[in-house]
Symmetry: C2
Subunit: 400 residues, 2 copies
């Protein structure tokens, strides 16, 4: 009782106030709690049944013009918008897709990179790409972050029941869990592997990396190349690592790797690995290729600390080509992934899984691969003369 003002919906009243907590429950009373109008309110205002209102709103069996107008006017006056949950329950479509991202796990000794959040940039750009297409289909993204290798995936399954399908960023679930999940709801993974019930979207690590290694080995003629890896169990990392090795060997260049070259995709990790290598007195390879750009940022930092000339003494390259890459000093050579496209494609694919077009063939089990290409800048040894490099170069401006 005493719920909203003027809201005798005319349909069975019932408990209402019970769990309504927070709506007009506060001492403020008056001007709030005006809970949004329901379809019953509209029907009453227009003098028709709720079925007619619904039909008008959904363009079904086009009702008589006059009826339609009456309804539309009532809708406009009341500012009615149908409730998402009710609609979802009825049509069995929420028009929401769940997106699971991995929450970066800061370690103890991140030092200068402690609150370094470029990590976020990459997944966020992917999400941006998703959101962009999602708009067109009237979908929204429901975002949830989980810890690396979320123990039981419970939080992921829960998110599934709030949405029509899931897009999983890398390394948020195990393969078994993924297969199980895929059996219950449409799922698209990013930079992972397809399962019989899910589809994966990734970019072409091999081609881009091959181009980079050939550039370093052949064009620059560097005699040794090290690979500072990302998470060991990341498929992207495995592919990149294997390609570096294969191409280096093919070019007759020494490939440097090993346990002490183990990074974790973070700037802090890249810096840490570099420092330890330096401390151990090992001679660095002529060029260091990093699992991603974050790692490269860390490497650049650690080398600069030791006054090591980049690319004069050691060349450095990254992977991803995040926007910051071109603002670094020296500007970072990197393999460009179509970041936003990755997201857009993931969404497009998921949507096809959720509501397949008439003739649409089943996509499950597919591995969708997007192209990559090398972006040469200064950190690999290319000069500022390259067309790509007309960017925020503080250097040139500093010494007239």
């Amino acid at each position: 009782m005493t719920t909203g003002t003027g809201s005798e919906t005319g349909h069975p009243a019932g408990q209402a106030a019970v769990v309504a907590a927070g709506r007009g429950a506060g001492p403020a009373g008056g001007l709030t709690g005006q809970s949004p109008p329901t379809i019953y309110d509209v029907a009453r205002a227009a003098g028709v049944s709720i079925a007619s209102v619904s039909r008008v709103l959904n363009g079904r069996r086009n009702p008589r013009e006059e009826t339609r107008d009456r309804v539309l006017q009532a809708v406009a006056e009341l500012g009615f918008v149908p409730d998402g949950a009710a609609r979802a329950l009825s049509v069995r479509l929420k028009e929401v897709v769940g997106v699971v991202v991995r929450r970066p796990q800061p370690t103890d000794d991140d030092g200068v990179f402690a609150d370094e959040d470029e990590n976020l940039q990459f997944p966020d750009m992917i999400n941006r790409g998703m959101e962009f297409v999602a708009q067109r289909y009237g979908y929204d993204l429901l975002i949830r972050s989980v810890d690396l290798h979320e123990s039981d995936g419970r939080r992921i399954f829960a998110l599934a029941r709030k949405s029509d399908g899931l897009i999983l960023h890398d390394q948020v679930i195990s393969t078994e869990q993924l297969a199980r999940l895929g059996r219950q709801v449409p799922v698209v993974t990013l930079a992972f592997v397809p399962t019989p019930t899910t589809v994966n979207v990734r970019s072409d690590n091999e081609t881009g990396m091959r181009e980079l290694i050939r550039h370093l080995a052949v064009d620059h003629g560097y005699g040794s190349i090290g690979y500072l890896s990302g998470h060991l169990d990341s498929p992207d990392n495995l592919a990149r690592s294997a390609t570096v090795r294969a191409e280096a060997e093919a070019a007759g260049v020494q490939f440097v790797n090993g346990p002490q070259w183990q990074g974790d995709y973070s700037a802090a990790g890249g810096a840490r690995v570099t420092e330890r290598l330096l401390e151990s007195g090992t001679e660095l390879p002529r060029a260091i290729v990093c699992g991603n750009d974050q790692t490269a940022i860390g490497v650049l930092y650690a080398l600069a600390q030791r006054r090591i000339d980049i690319p004069g003494q050691v060349a450095v390259a990254g992977f991803d080509d995040i926007p910051v890459a071109r603002h670094l000093n020296p500007r970072l050579t990197s393999v460009r992934q179509p970041i936003q496209d990755l997201g857009a494609t993931a969404f497009e694919t998921l949507h096809a899984l959720i509501s397949p077009a008439p003739g649409q063939q089943d996509l499950r089990g597919r591995d969708i691969v997007l192209p990559t290409r090398l972006n040469r800048r200064e950190s690999c040894g290319c000069g500022p003369g390259h067309p790509d490099s007309l960017v925020l170069a503080g250097m040139e401006g500093r010494q007239p």
Copy 2:
């Protein structure tokens, strides 16, 4: 008919297949479509009524231990998770908050900054802060982006019906619309203004900016300061601009501003304004303070193009202190906003609006202000000796 396998839920069957489109409708048949179990399935498996299942799941009126165990076992076996929409409809709580962000509008002449996405970094970090606390309350964020000054706000009202409350980033709605929206659902705005029905969260522009201007005018003794503004109607911009003027005048320093100093919070805008000033032959002020860091990036770029020494000839400072700031060359002096806190506070506040704690007083109409502080780096003229500046300084490393 022929819906799922073994899914005779025992409750009225009905239409089912009608709108189920996409679930097992595809030619694939078999291994998919296994639509998730419902509470009826669990009840049948446990040999109890759905009410008991629900009670066990929600810990109500603790049922007998034996019953509870039977139910929990059935839940585990079936992997049951309640459907979000159904639950939401019933308890009138979706456990979802809508977040509206502004989609950057690329203009025609963005040049090098065309696909510059640092713009995203700031809002994304705020969202990260929200998500972090949202977790603790079992909420998820439903993200939607709108164009600057979304014409009628329809998309915002629609999002409201998919969630329990809204958090609006800056400049996505007009004040009138906002007041109307606030009457229907709990709303928190960021960097805007409070209305009688909504609360606003922002950071303390005045204090941080005051500190910056005093630093430039007093510590560095610069004789003139220009302010390259953000969107004219952004309250943040107004406050920053006013503070720059007031403090400059108070310090007896010339304040340079005017229509040709109008930026738009983007790097491209900052570069454009700077280039036009340079072309027009105007003499630049000794220091340029930017509406935000993006703008400063553009300014840095344009000045470097002209071989103007920063901070030797012109000092530059930003606002926000986004992570990239410390990787620029020279490293950018900026006023630090507690970015993630902004998001966390916004969520906390919204949650208090949605389900106020027992004694909780009404927050509506409040303007919550978070503290800021100056981060001195090189672009204002401070040397690399400053403790803050031990960061990715490519410069030092380049010339041994």
